[in-house]
Amino acid sequence: MTENLTTDLSLARRRGASPSNHLLEVRDLTVTFPQPSGSVTAVRGVNYHVDQGEFLGIVGESGSGKSVSSLAVMGLLPSSAQVSGDILFEGRSLLGRSDKEMSKLRGEGISIIFQDPLSALTPVYTIGTQIAEALLLHDKSLSKLAANARAVELLKVVGIPNPERRAQAFPHEFSGGMRQRAMIAIAIANNPRLIIADEPTTALDVTIQAQILEVLQKAKEMTGAAVVLITHDLGVVAGNADRIAVMYAGRIVETGTVDQVFHEPSMPYTVGLLRSMPNLATAGHTRLVPLEGRPPLLTNLAPGCPFAPRCPVAIDACRTTEPPLIVFGNDPANSAACLRVAEIASGALDRSQLYPVPEPIAPADRAEVLSKSVLRVEKLVRHFPLTKGSVFKHSIGTVRAVDGVSFDIKSGQTLGLVGESGCGKSTTIMEILELAKPQAGQITINGVDVAVMSKKERQALRRDIQVVFQDPMASLDPRLPVQDIVSEPLTVHGVPAKERLKKVLDVLELVGLDPSMASRYPHEFSGGQRQRIGIARALVTDPKIVVLDEPVSALDVSIQAGVINLLEDLQEKLGLSYLFVAHDLAVIRQIADTVSVMYLGRIVESGPAEAIFDNPQHPYTRALLSAVPVPDPTVERTRQRIILDGDLPSPTEEISGCNFRTRCPLYLLMDPAGQEKCRTVDPVSRPLNSSEVACHHAEHIDRMTGTTKQPQRP
């Protein structure tokens, strides 16, 4: 297989243009979508190039035009799009080619990996068929049998266990990570010279993201293809890319080598983006610096630099002329589109001082908090029976969604609950919010056991515990004005109308929204503002505890920081306690005082945030942390990554002993007696150093860092 690919690769190289030329060159690309309400120019004069075997990262927020520009390269834009400029692949222009001519190149010369692998694979054909299809389309002499055999080989290359059997499976039988592997297999099937990966890991968990990035890197090495990785996550490109291009409002605003862009960014937008991102390496020690405002609408762009309204160092000239992308410094690879680039590059404008660091809440404004337990969960259990049969239902198993979870939140503190999707985080908070007697275990709020409460007491208690949901668009009724949305909890609790309005205006002010916007509808607000409305709705009843279910994961990077800062400020001002559920460990590091790590319905490690992040004791925590990409190329290159095998097991699976042992890297390093213990004895949480760990061998955790290569699972 490998020989096959390498011979094909040298062939591809010989076929390619001379090395002096670029593999792909995009010149002054402009893409306009005509619409009745005025045309939208999604890409406005983009220039970039990719050389053979190079890894280019294109970074931008949603709507920055990064995906549209790559679809233009593939010739996959809707027919209504007007494309101008030029796209040269191996020296030949791609624009103006017919769909038929382009289809010969697609998959063979350039291939693409899309974001959501569930919808990107045809549901009615098997995975093997879909890979073989890519082969057969470009090699008419290939027999169907040979194509199928090759498809199985490709599945093996991308790390799908049991490839012969899995090739017969349909997309819905694959997990998200496996589907993305299959997408990569399709992309590399014909040994393309260029692979475009459009947000390939966005919908995936960090551990799976790490796996996919590794497969992508492997695919690149095997095919020798150049890779264009499009992402909104600066961390994802830091470790892999050679060069970075940052896009904003349909243009590239800064490009350069990865070290240059990350260490010495020269466009204020890049500086702000890097400062606003919670970062595992720095989070928790410094306040985030939000990038105020939001990207401009591309329907009618004002003259001047599109970033000027959000730029802290904008001068008058910025508002009249749009700066071109100009080379600065000695390396021609580095350029930025900013009038003040010389000042920033020379250090006359200090990068670290460019954005004002928001002041923490003054001590006088801080609420006094007594350190007492406000929410205590003990051995909480939620099992769902799996039933079969429509007439005679019988149980065929149990889903152990929550299987003995305990934690304690003190007033004014934040507990971060982290884990991969499917680990039971959401079920845990739903059980708490229900305020009913749990299946087993105990939930105590403000010292009162919720199981013994009367209906009236429970109703009164709901004022004290409120929730903010993940998706700010879906969780707000689009047909209600903001004031009605925010005042709804008060209506439930029978607050008179006059007081309600006053309270609503106060709370809107509190979350940083203009009270005069109270009569507007949700769709008139941006994502960050909508999440503020969600927070206002939660705060309107003066709760003591706020449950935050992934409150920033649906927001763009530059918006996240503002919301996180707001949550921190509100906590200090009002003395709130947070139960903060998230999969993004950097966000948790930023805001949480104590952290609990969940795996398959259990808490495997808990303790103070510093202890968990600086000195994790459980192999799962360690693997989770090492999978999080850090937006710093130097750190990324020296970091050792622990990549977990496979997916999260199904919660219906019965795993004897420790339920993490099927993926545990430490388990493989233990002696037979130690492994025996993992297989037979369910570990209980025990204190170790300053955290609680549920692992038999946590003392030997350092063995994991001793090995440079991953141990192979038999």
Binding site: M74, S103, V124, A134, F170
Partner: protein, 327 residues
């Protein structure tokens, strides 16, 4: 999978039985078979009428539940659906007519489905362009036309064509030309010529409806990510739409096809009357007109069986098209 289909089949069979028995009760309560004899001159005596009605098992003086029981027992023990008011057995009457109707129905539905799918896909792919608009307006016009009007319009067109050509190319009265001499081929062509207009009429109505559904199913699929993936592998837009799009867009259609096959019967009744075909539609129509309870129930049973077959078929087709529902 087989178990699942069998279970669904049994389900449909129970529903069909319920539908037929309900139809019997409904007909017994509404239709008045005695009325037919009351208007005769000379009016038969009450005793005579009672005897006739008793013989048919439709005497309103007998409690409905008792008549229903007798009808069901007859069906189970003798396989008889009773007699029509013309003293012929319902079964033999239906056997003679079912073939006529099914020939029309099956042919009409298949042609309608094929054209409906093609027009729907074509319209979706060329959304808002002239051809799409033309198909849309055309199908709305046909959907809005009562089926007898459509039938008469077709007849007028056929007459004009025959007159223009000077030969009787298209015949449209009845199922075949009575008293035609000649071999097998002559009879075959004669029947085909008679089949032409009613089939076109049914197919037009069906295709107009299907194309609307297929168009919207296809529009959902057009913007799907997997079409983009298929194109990124190296398919042209057209080939990606056919190979990956139509296949998925057919899934929701299969249910609609199967059920509309059964419901076309209602539309076909009018078509049969217009073209003087002696099929099941006409049978049902006459049964109601003549207050014939046994014949009516028989016609309902026939329809229920069609639904039963169509329902089972749609489950099979759905599972064949969509791997996600296979169990």
């Amino acid at each position: 999978m087989i178990g699942f289909i069998v279970k669904r089949f049994i389900n449909y069979a129970i529903l069909s039985a319920i539908a037929t028995l309900s139809a019997y009760v409904l007909a017994s309560m509404i239709l008045n078979p005695a009325g037919r004899y009351l208007g005769r001159n000379p009016r038969p005596s009450d005793a005579t009428i009672n005897t006739i009605l008793d013989g048919l098992g439709v005497n309103p003086n007998t409690p409905v539940i008792e008549r229903l029981w007798n009808w069901a027992v007859n069906l189970v023990t003798q396989g008889s659906l009773g007699e029509t008011i013309h003293n012929t057995s319902v079964i033999s009457e239906m056997a003679a007519r079912a073939g006529t109707s099914l020939r029309l129905l099956i042919l009409g539905t298949i042609i309608a489905a094929v054209f409906g799918v093609i027009l729907g896909v074509w319209g979706a792919v060329r959304q808002y362009k002239f051809s799409d608009q033309a198909i849309s307006y055309g199908s709305f016009a046909i959907l809005a036309t009562p089926s007898f009007v459509l039938g008469i319009l077709l007849m007028i067109a056929a007459t004009a064509l025959n007159g223009f050509l000077g030969v009787q190319l298209i015949s449209f009265t009845g199922e075949y030309t009575a008293g035609l001499d000649g071999g097998l081929w002559v009879h075959f062509w004669d029947r085909a010529a008679h089949l032409l207009l009613p089939t076109i009429s049914l197919a037009l109505m069906g295709a107009a409806g299907y194309s609307r559904y297929q168009r919207s199913a296809m529009l959902d699929v057009l913007s799907a990510d997997y079409i983009r993936t298929a194109r990124s592998k190296g398919r042209t837009r057209g080939s990606a739409l056919v190979r990956h799009g139509v296949r998925v867009a057919l899934i929701p259609m299969s249910t609609y096809f199967a059920y509309s096959f059964a419901t076309v019967l209602a539309g076909a009744a009018v078509t049969e009357l217009v073209f003087s075909w002696h099929g099941m539609g006409e049978f049902l129509f006459q049964a109601i007109q003549q207050s014939d309870i046994n014949a009516f129930t028989g016609a309902v049973l026939f329809n229920a069986i069609l639904v039963l077959i169509a329902g089972t078929l749609s489950d099979v087709v759905y599972a064949a098209l969509d791997p996600r529902v296979r169990v």
